[in-house]
């Protein structure tokens, strides 16, 4: 029963951050943490300088280069002059404004959405922004986190606030349990398949239910990360004991007396029974098989046991047209078994799936096996220098290298192909990243999104394959 007094977790976080009401529908909202990177910030700093404006809270801001950093030869200068300029400007701009900067040579450097939770900077109940749509990742720790454009980056730098209209509340409850071999990536792709690429537009998604509670914090990050692919600017999970255990002792987590105060505050961050959601979706986890995309939108997703769909079977005429175009771009024929699709490249990385648990699950499948001969390149790109170091401590790098994978330095890499790591025209890539848009991994590149373990199996078989047969 809906109780008008009852609040959702997001209602609570929103209320905590309202500086003031602007007009009937918009509010001035305070931002607790601002993450910046080289791609979406130069124009913001330029305009800040032009208008003679200062950064309001350098202490609530952290910068790291990740989008176009090379993943090899870190001891040499960055070859591509445009990337080098962006990285240099990030360093200069942050220095001028006394903002903390993790350089490419710092072990803490990595993909912005990996390093902030890793450092303990991402905490429950915060408002977090970054000029990057996958900022939704941080919601896994119960933070309200969302991507912004460059004008908003400048707005936050100058004022530590944003003018916002309150998004609507949506809850996705996941019941049952995930079967063997099924990860939160499969769950995320399945959800996008169910609600569509615009299913959560205008909404903040709260993920709830027994399956979400059972997920590790890292697995929750994968799920929240993909929220934007369903149109939702943020996804979140209420903080629990796992969240607190994850944060305890991290370099930037609250210390000493603050820790107990923070834990007590975090305990208040939940949705009341009877709170009203504008949209509710219930998903049965038991029905989910390993997922893989066939088209050019993350909503074009199917079980590995399925076949490439026939566009004429879609009822919606727009969807039919889009599917036809997608199959043309992907070079696929309706009716083809997904597991008959040959793969040219494999990419294990990105802010979706480059944490230590992801690398472990891929390494488990790869151990003692070899990358298939038809694979041109199989890359593992850890999400941060610290993930890389941990993986090396556990010997995962050896497993990957012995199997024929390349073991690289941290960054966004082949997720968007801004550095030399690209998928060639017409080539097919099994990728643990989050977008299969046309040209995303390089002009003409064909992307199939899947989980790290599924990517590992694709590398070994040389085709899309079912991880459950290789465990």
């Amino acid at each position: 029963m809906a109780d008008p007094q009852a609040k959702t977790l997001f209602d609570r976080i929103w209320e905590n951050h309202v500086v003031g009401q602007r007009d009937a529908v918009t509010s001035l909202i305070y931002i607790d943490l601002h993450l910046i990177h080289e791609l979406s910030s130069p124009q913001a700093f330029e305009s800040l300088a032009l208008n003679n404006r200062k950064v309001r809270r350098p202490d609530a801001t952290l910068a790291v280069p990740d989008h176009n950093v090379p993943t090899t030869d870190r001891d040499k200068p960055v070859k591509d002059p445009e990337s080098a300029l962006q990285i240099r400007l990030l360093e200069e701009n942050t220095k001028a404004h006394k903002i903390e900067f993790f350089s490419m040579h710092d072990i803490r450097q990595g993909i912005v959405h990996i390093i902030s939770p890793e450092q303990g900077l991402t905490q429950p109940g915060m408002s977090i922004v970054c000029g990057d749509s996958h900022t939704s990742t941080h919601g896994a720790l119960g933070a309200w986190a969302f991507g912004i454009g460059t004008s908003e980056v400048e707005h936050v730098l100058a004022t530590q606030t944003l003018v916002l209209r309150k998004p609507a509340n949506m809850r996705i409850t996941v019941k049952g349990e995930l079967l063997n071999g099924i990860t939160s990536k499969d769950l995320a792709l399945h959800i996008i398949g169910v609600i569509g690429a615009k299913g959560a537009t205008g909404h903040v998604i709260e993920y709830a239910g027994p399956v979400i509670e059972a997920l590790s914090v890292e697995a929750r990050m994968t799920l929240c990360n993909m929220t934007i692919e369903a149109g939702g600017r943020s996804g979140l999970v209420a903080p629990d004991d796992k969240t607190i255990r994850y944060l305890k002792g991290r370099p930037r987590a609250p210390k000493d007396g603050d820790w107990d105060k923070a834990v007590a505050f975090w305990a208040t961050l939940k949705t009341d029974a009877g709170a009203r959601f504008d949209k509710e979706v219930v998903v049965d986890a038991k029905k989910i098989e390993p997922q893989v995309t066939w088209g050019t939108s993350p909503e074009d997703v199917i079980s590995i046991s399925g076949r490439v769909p026939d566009p004429t079977h879609f009822e919606n005429p727009e969807r039919r047209e889009a599917a036809k175009k997608a199959l043309q771009y992907m070079g696929l024929k309706p009716g083809t078994l997904m597991r008959d699709i040959l793969v040219d490249r494999v990419f294990i990385g990105s802010c979706t799936n480059s944490r230590i648990e992801d690398l472990r699950s891929a390494a488990k499948v790869i151990k003692g096996r070899r990358v298939a001969d038809n694979i041109i390149e199989a890359l593992v790109v850890p999400g941060s220098g610290l993930v890389k170091a941990q993986a090396e401590k556990e010997g995962l790098d050896k497993i990957f290298k012995e199997a024929g994978f390349e073991w690289r330095e941290p960054g966004c890499s082949m997720c968007l192909g801004l550095n030399p790591d690209k998928v060639g025209p017409g080539e097919r890539c099994a990728s643990t990243s989050n977008r299969n848009f046309p040209g995303r991994q390089g002009p003409g590149a064909r992307t199939h999104l899947l989980s790290p373990a599924m990517a590992a199996v694709a590398a070994i078989v040389g085709k899309l394959a079912d991880v459950r047969e290789y465990e």
């Binding site: 007009d23 979406s40 962006q86 454009g149 460059t150 004022t159 530590q160 210390k255 727009e318 047209e321």
Partner: protein
Amino acid sequence: MRKFETLTSWAATLPQPNIDTDQIIPARHLKTVKRDGLGRFAFEAARYDKKGESNPDFIFNQSPFDKAEILIAGANFGCGSSREHAVWALADLGIRAIISEQFADIFASNAPKNGMLLITLGRDEIAELMQHAKSKRVRINLPSQIVEIEDMQVKIPFEMDPFDKKCLLEGLDQIALTLRQNAEISTYEARWEKKTPWLFHD
């Protein structure tokens, strides 16, 4: 910021849904440190063939739509990455207003900050507009929130965020506006720091 009041122009149509920001401006062009000059890369993959020649089938390569200042697009326009370069590229291409059934959230917040008007209309209204846009110009009146088709009796009202409307009409700089609320922000900060001291570190 350039003010927006009324606009009469040919409208280019791109009916497919989910036109993402990678299609509007491919990632490789994000390695710029400037806002201008991105128009020539807008819709690059669709606009040019492999040799870099104009693709005659693409609407922005057809007269009079090559001069269109209005774009009518399929649902979920601007989905994907947060890159404001998508708005800069469209603006540089000459687009000042976009009409769609639904815009992706981040794109929708980026556009008005660059003087670009986004209009959300129903599916049937979009279909009607798309059909007439082939032969007639489209007129947008922001003060009265009406879209019209030239020489026809069609008048379609649209909804609009009052804050975005004000900023567009007056060409306001949002940061300057917020900086005027400096005292209010400081008051908030003091209150919030008391409650969550671990979020403040100087």
